[in-house]
Each structure stands twice: as C-alpha cells, then as structure tokens.
Symmetry: C2
Subunit: 337 residues, 2 copies
Amino acid sequence: MATNRRLLLVRRPHGEPVPDDFRLVEEAVPAPPRNGFVIRNHYASLDPAQRGWMDDAPSYMPPIALGSAVRATTVGIVHTSDNPDFRPGQWVLGMNALEDYSPMTPGGFTMAIDVSRVASPSHFLSSMGAVGLTAYFGLLEVAKPEANETLVVSGAAGAVGSVVGQIGKIMGCRVIGIAGGAAKCRRLIKDYGFDAAIDYKGKSVPELAAEIALAAPAGADIVFENVGGNVMDAELLNLARKARIVLCGLISEYNSPDKIGIRNLWQVLAREAVLHGYLVTDFVPRFAEAGTVMARWMAEGKLRMDEDIQVGLENAYPAFMRLFSGANTGKLILKIA
Amino acid sequence: MATNRRLLLVRRPHGEPVPDDFRLVEEAVPAPPRNGFVIRNHYASLDPAQRGWMDDAPSYMPPIALGSAVRATTVGIVHTSDNPDFRPGQWVLGMNALEDYSPMTPGGFTMAIDVSRVASPSHFLSSMGAVGLTAYFGLLEVAKPEANETLVVSGAAGAVGSVVGQIGKIMGCRVIGIAGGAAKCRRLIKDYGFDAAIDYKGKSVPELAAEIALAAPAGADIVFENVGGNVMDAELLNLARKARIVLCGLISEYNSPDKIGIRNLWQVLAREAVLHGYLVTDFVPRFAEAGTVMARWMAEGKLRMDEDIQVGLENAYPAFMRLFSGANTGKLILKIA
C-alpha cells in the first residue's frame, strides 16, 4: 500500500534553516475531502517566499503551522476524487505542500492544467506559472516600462529576475542585471541578452553603487528588486528622478535574524521615486492570458526560462538551500515523482 | 553703514552639527545683481531639510558649498533693486540663506507676497508657506485620504505633522499621531484634535508597534512619515493592505552617520503597500490656490499652526538644534530683523 511521505516544519528556523527544523515522516495517503480530491504530486516549486512562511511574522499568508508540511506550489495528477470536475488522471496545479499526496478542494489557487501543450509539466511552476508571471505583471503592469528606459534588476540570474530582464529587452529597455559571481553574470549577457551585468560579490555599497553608475549614468528609471540589503542600498544611490521600484523580494534578508536594513531610503524621497510592494495575487485571474503571451515569446526565441530540477522529496532540504547559497541556476523545482 | 552678517557652513557636520561647523561673518551689503534686487531678511525658516543640504550626498538640491551661507527660505523686504517689478519696500519670499541681506533674481522660488492679509509675515514660512503646503499636497494629492480611513502621522507635533493630522480630521479620517513626550502627545489631542497620540520615547520597535496596533487595530491605510528609523519600522508592522505611505522626511536619520536603516521593508511587500518619495516642488504652481484653502480653514477654526520663533541671527545654531532635540513646538522660525 502506498504511503505519503511529508516534509514537516517542526521548528521555526532562526536565521538559515538547518536540517533539524524539518522532519520527513510517512503517513497514510489521505482520503479525498468532501467535494475535493487527492493529487499525487510530481513537481514542487521551491521559492524564497517559503522561507518567509516559516517565520511567525505578519505576512500576506499565515505562517506554516509547526508540525504541518512545508507549504509549496505543486503540480500533480488526481489520484482519488469526490469531485466530478477533477477526475483521476487530470493534471492539477495548486498551493499544497512538500509531500507525495495532497488533499485539495476547488477554488483559490487550484486549477486544472493542460500539460499536452508544454514540454514538461514542470513548466507550470516556471515560465507558465506564478514565477514567470510574477515577472510579467510586475514589470508590465506595475513598473510600466517605456522604450529606452533603464531597468536595473537584482537577483537577475534567478527565476524572476532573468524573465524580468528578458521582458525588459522585449519592451526596448536598456537592461542592467545584478547577480552573484562571474558565471551568472556571463549568463545574463549570453543567455538572457542583458546589456550589462554587475557582480555584487565582495563589494561594498559605495563600490557597487559606483559600478551601477558606470552602467547607468543617467540612473535607473525602473528598479526590479528581488534582493534587498546592500544591493538595494547601492541601487537606491542610482535612481533617476521619479523612478519606479518594484519590491518583489528581499532574499538577502530572509535568513537574517538581525536584518541590516535599508539605509538609503532618503534617496527614494530625494528622487521622488515610488516603491511598490508587489504580490502577483491580484493578477491571478489574468494568468491564462499572460501565459499565452509568454508561450509565444518562448516560441519566438525571445524568452527562455531555465529550470534547475532537483530530484526526490528526501532531498528537499539541500535543494531548498540552493536558493540561498546562490547555487541554483534558473527556476528551482523539486521532482517528487 | 549697514553690514551683512552671514552664517557660513565651514565644515560638513559629522552626525549632529556642532558650533564649529559654522562661522558668523560680517561682510558688506551686496549690490543688486543685474535685473535682480537685494532683500533685508526678516524671517528665515529652519527646517530638517537643511541638515541634509549640509551633507555632500546626492539629493534633490546640490549640497551647500563649504564657505557659503546656510541655505534657507526667507521672507524680507526689497532693500535695493535693479528690477522694476521688485521695488524697495516690497515683501518677497525666496530660497536665500541665513544672512541679513540676500541678493535675489526673479524666477525659481522667488515670489512677491502680500503681507497685508496675514497677522505676521512669518506665516509665509509656516501655514501659507512650503511647510504647510507640504502637508496639504502630500496628504490630499499623494495619499488621497477617504473618510473613515486610518491615518498614522509621525513627527505629529512638528510643523508638517500637525497640519497633516488636522487636514486628515477635516477629511474625516481617524488620526493617530506619534510624537516624543507626554506634553507633545497632550497637544496632539487638545490643540490639534487627533483621535489618539502615542509617545515613542523609550520604547522598542515591538513595544511601539503594539501601541500602534491598539490604536489602529485594522492597520493604517495611510502613513505620513516624517521620522524614519524605529518609528517607521513600528508603523510598517501595522499597515493595512494596500496602504499608502507618504515619505516626507526622515528626521531621525539626518544626524546619524551610521544610519540604523529600515528593517521591516518586507511589510511593504506583504501588504502590497505603496511608498511615495515626496517633495512639494511639483506643486509650487498651485501654492496660491492651496494657500486660500488653508487660510479659510484657519479662519473657520479648523486648522491651527503654531510658530516657534527664535530671535537673532547670532542664535541660529542653537535655534536650529531645537529641531533635533525635539524642543521646538510648531514651525521653527528665526527672526532676523
């Protein structure tokens, strides 16, 4: 009889998560909830946001309860069902957890997906999923880029950042990416077509600010922020007047119990910039429409999204930590089955 | 023969300004520039922004050059003129300096003012001037308050904050002020009609955040930020979803060479808040229109603006420091003549 392996959060991480914060358990496969169903998870998205959900702090979602499985977006196949709209064999996307089997109900983020038109169902966690569309709506609907504007993207080699930069190029922007290490910077230019790439590693805020100034002498019209900390402080010293900042993530801070904070907020005032706290949730009803545009750009060779697929629920912890060590290249996904 | 006393900036302050950063000199009264004029300054505005201009850092205005007089908004009377539109005896407002006599040219912030309709010409540096109108446009045009919204104002007993809170009440908001000390908090309630007042002194960020939460259980729809630092971090823990933050000043940081920074920026993302870096300059063409509204509210007893008038150019340094010690009550103005 099949069992359900589940990765539980058993202790709130203090700073960087350690293996003892989690426990892999085996339980019985659940029965479908009333009017719901159970899916066999095949792929799970590993995202920086999950680190935030592990803290007991006010956020846009409740913290992951201690003793419950680590929340994750997954795609899988309906295994058993009490709902005629979700028959066994149907592929489904939803907000579930790092586990073999997830009970689900319709509504919310739950949606049936057609995997026949994609090379891999995992694409619904990358280019066709919330991550690719976070880039799409954050840049196009929040920052609203115009041709010839200068766009600075941090975390530029990451899943969101690499797509933001490529869409920026499609829109005619001059795109400057900030990433960690020479290899990632080479990929920004070679694989993603950025105009300039800056390696933040080992640089002070003034040093990094000076490099950004060289690449963007008239300042950034748009900053797409995924990192925070010193990287953001250096960007803030290079704002064009009335710059738009899309605050999409702060990955440098998620594991810091003593956050260093943003010291150059004065620049937001002095440049009359606007900083938008951004979640993609408002745009979920437009995902299908945007997914079509993304698919077209990919077919035309204008957009690529790399996936870093790690294998096995038993490897979830080291796979997740690749997000923070900077080891991952492209969208990090855990293959469960 | 008259001489021109001038307060020069002779050294950039490191942190809190000290007397040796300045030197009071006596020079000859200047001749009017071509097509310009010279005014005898009567009142000078002392503002937190001047501290920023003393630093050699990128900002919305160039730093005050070492060896030149400290930039200040002043009102005075035309003394000598080479311009028929500004005859001797005419009152004028402009961006000048802490000095007895200032050479001026038309344009920019220079404007002739009609002091016959105000109790004191100093009002053009407070309620009728940039400070009162900074509150007016920042709240009404940037935050756009609606009735029954919750407005949290920091630096609430200050020149800008006290007006923001009063206009918030006129607009039907629930207004919570944060100020330093019991006496100021009493004034917020008694003199300015705030709904609640919170004393930030001696409180940690969690303690202050808990007090704000008690006063604003559903969170702040609008934060009007004049202070920054720990006060702002506590406010950020109390944002309503899609809150608007008007970033008008960061007085807690102006004298800090090692800024503590904002650690709770994550909340801006999690609450999908928008933070607007705000300068009043865009609204200068609408000053006359807004001044009329402000004057009407004052005549109707709905709005008051206190002035803290210190006397004598020779007292400019201790007068200026009242801004940072929290000693000033109302708009701080230096009477020069």
